[in-house]
């Protein structure tokens, strides 16, 4: 059994017990424990089920590479799935649930997949669920979805806080092990601003476990000495519990700091995302131990050798009573020695190398530990826990077989440098045949804006595994980075470290070497996703030869650990199956983040009301007070309608329209874009931007104008007023103001930069109010001031002066078809002006109306709306707006495009009105079917609805649509199928349903 020992445990404080829960059971650990070490201390070896076959799974590692020990952590608003027990620090009251099983961890029905595994090879889902086609949607997909997926989605809102932090450093060091700390020390007096981060809570990395002494100084003391030295430097910032998540272009770097995951409280930000710009980055990210591939290597109790000694040394936990060691290198002997020293039996060290190991192996033998060279494991006994192993000759699986009892196996397949951060931004790797690893290529580091390298890997992350080499490489690499960041170099030398004489590892990718298919299909590569040696071989045989294809076909390395343990083993199998060398097969791409980071941290404080700024008109507060139902229009919020108590939105809209058409309505039109274009060349400029002529517009007059992109399509419309000889005020759509302002700037700055024109966006400078309806003039006259009589202010004219006490500019324009004035006043006067209009309008029964009434009224008049009648593929000619396209102008944006054959095709979908025969409302966006079928076998179409409303004025449904040759087919009846299969016939009409002669607005 796994248990807490009476001795050891440099991270834990035995005087501070901590209670926690796992799957509803109460456990206890110590301060300093991780969830994983505390579970192991309580003999909880089975901690989850695998993804595909639901096989029992145990903890494999002691760090962020953990593929198995994924937990649903917390409850309710702190619930989070897929958290690694190995990186979760224990705190009072922690609750964890294991994943991927039903009904319970011990008895899981999904394990039936395990017995069907012969029939569930790689690509099974792709092959099985493709026929018959209709089955996918209704049978296969719902079933697969139910059984797939890791963890659970949270059901309530996360109440934690998250934040972003912007930081700038000359040098950032990722990794706080012996390499990172020495790099920081080397750089401390360089004059540079330095940040060093460590993903764990403890500094020191493997040094604390693997090197009891650094040149006569105890490892722990050595690390704390460097730490206290570093803390003296004001230019050095140190952060633990912070992971380097990703390295990006030009020295951009993401740091993921976990601030209170280890605490019982949820106060202050939980995670902080550091958005860093670094001149130089040092990756001192160490290395990760590789598992070995042998039959049954996924059974709980089988762990990485380094993890076994981590649990012993750091947490005082023995992972078993009898721990067998299986290795291809010298490092795993450290585990044997550590275990022996704390009194755990090591029944055998199985070394695949026929010549055995070096000094450490010698030491182990001296301690009396049995060492078997040239041997391998051919079978593991046990299901939820290792019971025994069969060992045999590595070369020959039926030679010298022997069953040895053990309840745990520590395995080591050698070490892989953590090259992720080096590779994120283009750093290249090279294959080291001797050490069987991909290591950073010094000649192909990621480069920055100056074309020079900005990331340097040092120490184990650079492929150096012996301490002396690590220290030399760290000094060397640090100096390179310091120099590149513009810092001073000192000439201190490192003290030589006397390494043990270690013998080179021997790459063994499958054990035993002659394992048959039965054994290979029990040999796991990816523990979480259940990818076995036989799956990768199958993928290669089926032609998925590229490593990227094989990955996606088998899902090797696609689990939440992203192949940290499995990648190298998997591609070694792939390369041997293909008969290619490993470097020719290559690795899959390393992409950020290094380990998953919380979505909350990515969002930071951009949540709820801080998600995006909301633009408010000067009258916004009034709308809210009156209970207006608001809708988003771009970043604005506009009243959709003003429902009265107990009134539906539909009824409110109808009431607002009826009152406006019969007496008086008010619209807050302040969101309308207002771009002032001025300068000697302003007229020339606007002639290029609008399809019609703006330079000939007389001062005091207004003109409706259309804007097209250079590709010919309509992008905006609005009324242009000429203010003076060289100034025009261009109204844009509410959502289009900023876009059109940018559009103008772009052409002015990049094409006609010698034209003398200036554009200012005045949108927010003015409140603009539509005073609409037969009594509109009476209301303005009641306020008094400017003469707004028909003769003094004709249709499509504007005027400015005092209206009551307000500084007003009155445009006599109409988007509703009624007598209508749009009055602009300075934003600061907007609210007072609006309130006065409401007050004085009382005798006319004045009603504010919202955007929906605006939409319906414009549709009744057949006026187009950008975004309804246009969708980026519509030209003005389609909307019968040829009258607004100048034939005199030689050029305007979109003119050449509109001359293209397809644009002048007479058979285009064109704007018409549509009336249903039964008065019902057509569904918006519905297509009209035509005879025959297209080349895809789909029913042919002849047009679609662009706007559709119930018109309270006409008391029936009205619609506008784009119909093939529409205007020439007036009177024809066409069909619109609905989703429910019924068909609505509709008659093609003119799009102008209301007051076609314009008598109402012209009074």
């Amino acid at each position: 059994m796994s248990k807490r020992l009476g001795v050891g445990g440099q991270f834990i404080d035995r005087s501070k017990p901590i209670k926690f829960q796992f799957n509803g059971r109460r456990f206890s650990g110590f301060k300093g424990d991780t969830l994983a070490s505390a579970l192991l201390a309580n003999d909880q070896v089975l901690i989850g089920r695998s993804f595909k076959y639901h096989r029992p799974r145990g903890i494999v590692s002691s760090g962020s590479e953990e593929p198995n020990a994924l937990m649903n952590l917390g409850e309710n608003e702190t619930f989070e799935p897929n958290q690694r027990a190995t990186t979760t620090e224990l705190f009072e009251g922690l609750t964890a649930f294991s994943q991927n099983h039903w009904p319970s961890l011990n008895f899981d029905i999904g394990v039936i997949n395990n017995y069907l595994s012969r029939f569930l090879p790689a690509g099974f889902y792709y092959k099985m669920f493709i026929h018959p086609r209709p089955f996918w949607k209704y049978i296969y997909e719902p079933f697969i979805r139910q059984s797939a997926g890791l963890g659970k989605a949270p059901s309530v809102k996360d109440t934690s806080d998250y934040e972003h932090f912007y930081a700038f450093y000359d040098l950032v060091i990722i990794g706080g092990g012996i390499s990172g700390l020495n790099a920081a020390l080397t750089a401390a007096e360089s004059g540079l601003k330095i940040l060093i981060m460590e993903q764990n809570s403890e500094w020191g990395g493997r040094c604390l476990v693997d090197f009891p002494f650094i040149n006569e100084e105890p490892g722990l003391k050595y690390i704390s000495r460097i730490l206290s030295e570093l803390r003296k430097y004001k230019n050095v910032t140190m952060r633990s519990r912070m992971m380097g998540a990703g390295v990006y272009d030009h020295g951009y770097l993401l740091g993921y700091e976990r601030l209170n995951d280890h605490l019982s409280t949820n106060e202050g930000p939980r995670h902080r995302l550091w958005r860093i710009r670094a001149k130089q980055i040092i990756t001192a990210t160490g290395a990760i131990e590789r598992p070995l591939s042998f039959p049954g290597n996924d059974i709980p109790g089988i762990m990485l050798a380094s993890a076994v000694r981590d649990y012993a040394t750091n947490f005082g936990v023995a992972v078993g009573d009898k721990v067998a060691i299986f290795t291809n290198n010298d490092d795993a002997y450290r585990t044997a020695i550590t275990l022996h020293e704390i009194g755990v039996t090591v029944p055998v060290i199985i070394d695949a190398r026929s010549s055995g190991g070096g000094e450490l192996a010698h030491h182990a033998k001296e301690l009396g530990i049995r060492v078997e060279n040239g041997k391998a494991i051919s079978k593991v006994f046990g299901q939820k826990r290792v019971k025994a192993v069969t060992i045999c000759d590595y070369e020959k699986s039926d030679a010298n077989k022997e069953k040895i009892e053990c309840d745990s196996i520590a395995m080591s397949g050698g070490w892989s440098p953590v090259v992720h951060l080096f590779s994120h931004c283009g750093g290249k790797l090279k294959w080291d045949e001797d050490l069987a690893m991909f290591r950073p290529d010094k000649a192909a580091k990621p480069t920055s804006s100056d074309g020079l390298p900005f990331v340097t890997a040092v120490g184990s992350a650079n492929g150096f595994l012996l301490m002396n080499e690590v220290l030399i490489d760290t000094l060397d690499g640090s100096r390179t980075a310091i120099r590149a960041a513009g810092g001073k170099i000192n000439n201190k030398k490192t003290k030589e470290f006397l390494d043990k004489n270690e013998k080179a590892p021997e790459a063994i990718w499958i054990s035993p070497k002659d394992a048959n298919i039965k054994k290979r299909s029990k040999t796991w590569l990816d523990f979480q996703n259940d990818v076995k040696v036989s799956d990768v071989e199958l993928a290669a045989r089926e032609g998925f030869e590229s490593v990227e294809h094989a990955k996606r076909y088998t899902t090797l390395g696609m689990a939440t650990d992203q192949g940290k343990l499995s990648n190298i083993n998997g591609l070694a199998i792939l390369s041997s199956t293909l008969g290619k060398e490993i470097p020719r097969v290559g690795t899959t791409t390393f992409r950020p983040p290094y380990t998953p980071i919380s979505l909350g941290s990515i969002g930071g404080s951009a949540r709820n009301e801080l998600f995006q700024p909301i633009r408010k008109t000067p009258i916004h507060e009034w709308h809210e007070k009156k209970g207006a139902y608001m809708e988003p229009v771009g970043q604005w919020r506009r009243p959709f309608c003003y429902p009265k108590e107990g009134e539906t939105h539909q009824k409110a809209v109808e009431r607002e329209i009826n009152q406006t058409r019969s007496s008086l309505g008010l619209l807050d039109a302040s969101t309308l874009g207002k771009l002032l274009v001025t300068g000697p060349d302003a007229g020339k400029f606007l002639d290029m931007l609008y399809t019609n002529m703006m330079s000939t517009l007389k001062v005091g007059k207004c003109r409706y104008g259309l804007m097209c992109s250079e590709n010919g399509f309509l992008i905006d419309d609005g009324v242009v007023a000429r203010i003076d000889e060289q100034t025009w005020l261009c109204h844009t759509t509410s959502g289009g103001a900023d876009r059109i302002h940018s559009h103008m700037e772009e052409w002015l700055q990049t094409e006609w930069w010698d034209w003398k024109v200036y554009v200012a966006n005045l949108t927010e400078q003015f409140a603009q109010i539509g005073v609409v309806g037969p009594n509109a003039r009476k209301l303005l006259e009641k306020i008094g001031g400017l003469d707004v009589s028909k003769d003094a202010l004709g249709f499509m004219e504007w005027k400015e002066g005092k209206l009551g006490k307000y500084d007003a500019r009155i445009f006599r324009i109409s988007f509703s078809g009624e007598l209508s004035f749009e009055v602009a006043v300075p934003a600061g006067q907007g609210m007072a002006f609006w309130k006065e209009l409401i007050e004085l309008g009382e005798e006319f029964g004045v009603m504010p109306y919202g955007t929906e009434a605006l939409h319906v009224m414009r549709a009744e008049k057949g006026f187009i709306m950008i975004g309804d009648e246009t969708d980026g593929t519509v030209i003005p000619q389609d909307l019968n707006l040829t009258w607004a396209i100048s034939k005199k102008k030689e050029d305007f944006l979109g003119k050449r495009a509109q001359e293209r054959a397809h644009m002048v095709d007479p058979n285009r979908w064109k704007l018409v009105g549509l009336e249903t025969l039964d008065g019902s409302v057509l569904p918006d966006g519905a297509y009209s079917t035509a005879q025959g079928f297209n080349s895809n076998g789909q029913r042919s179409t002849q047009g679609r609805i662009t706007s559709s409303y119930y018109s309270p004025t006409l008391k029936r449904g009205i619609a506008m649509g784009l119909i093939l040759n529409g205007p020439s087919r007036e009177g024809e009846i066409i069909e619109f199928p609905k989703i429910d299969g019924t068909i609505i016939p509709a008659k093609i009409t003119s799009p102008v349903f209301y007051d076609p002669d314009g008598e109402k607005q012209n009074v």
């Binding site: 272009d249 590709n711 772009e746 094409e751 930069w753």
Partner: protein, 109 residues
């Protein structure tokens, strides 16, 4: 997350301050041009693995459009310059020649 120095305000602008505007130095073809000319102007773009000239706007800064010469492969920036020009400044072309001998892009080399 690129960084460009805005040639107008001199600020080293982070990519989040900028908006990309596609290929630089396009010649506009309007009415009277052939279909081929117009197609080339509106649609056909260089897509080099290497030296490239782009338009960027310092939209959350001074608001000015500028041009950038950079390597799409290594992300090296050879320089930024005014958008109000028909070709890259000689000094930038010289810098590219030194770093990428034999370099060619449309009519520039």
């Amino acid at each position: 997350m690129l960084i460009f120095t805005c040639p107008y305000c001199g600020i080293e602008a982070d990519e989040t301050e900028l908006t990309p505007g596609g290929e630089a130095h396009l010649k506009r073809f309007g009415p009277g041009s052939s279909d081929e000319e117009f197609e080339g102007y509106l649609f056909n773009r260089e897509n080099p693995k290497g030296v490239h000239f782009e338009r960027w706007r310092h939209v959350y800064g001074c608001g000015k459009w500028f041009h950038a010469a950079r390597c799409t492969l290594t992300l090296e920036v050879f320089g930024t310059y005014s958008a109000q020009t028909f070709e890259p400044p000689e000094e930038i072309k010289e810098r590219i020649r030194a770093k990428r001998p034999g370099w060619k892009w449309r009519n520039f080399s």
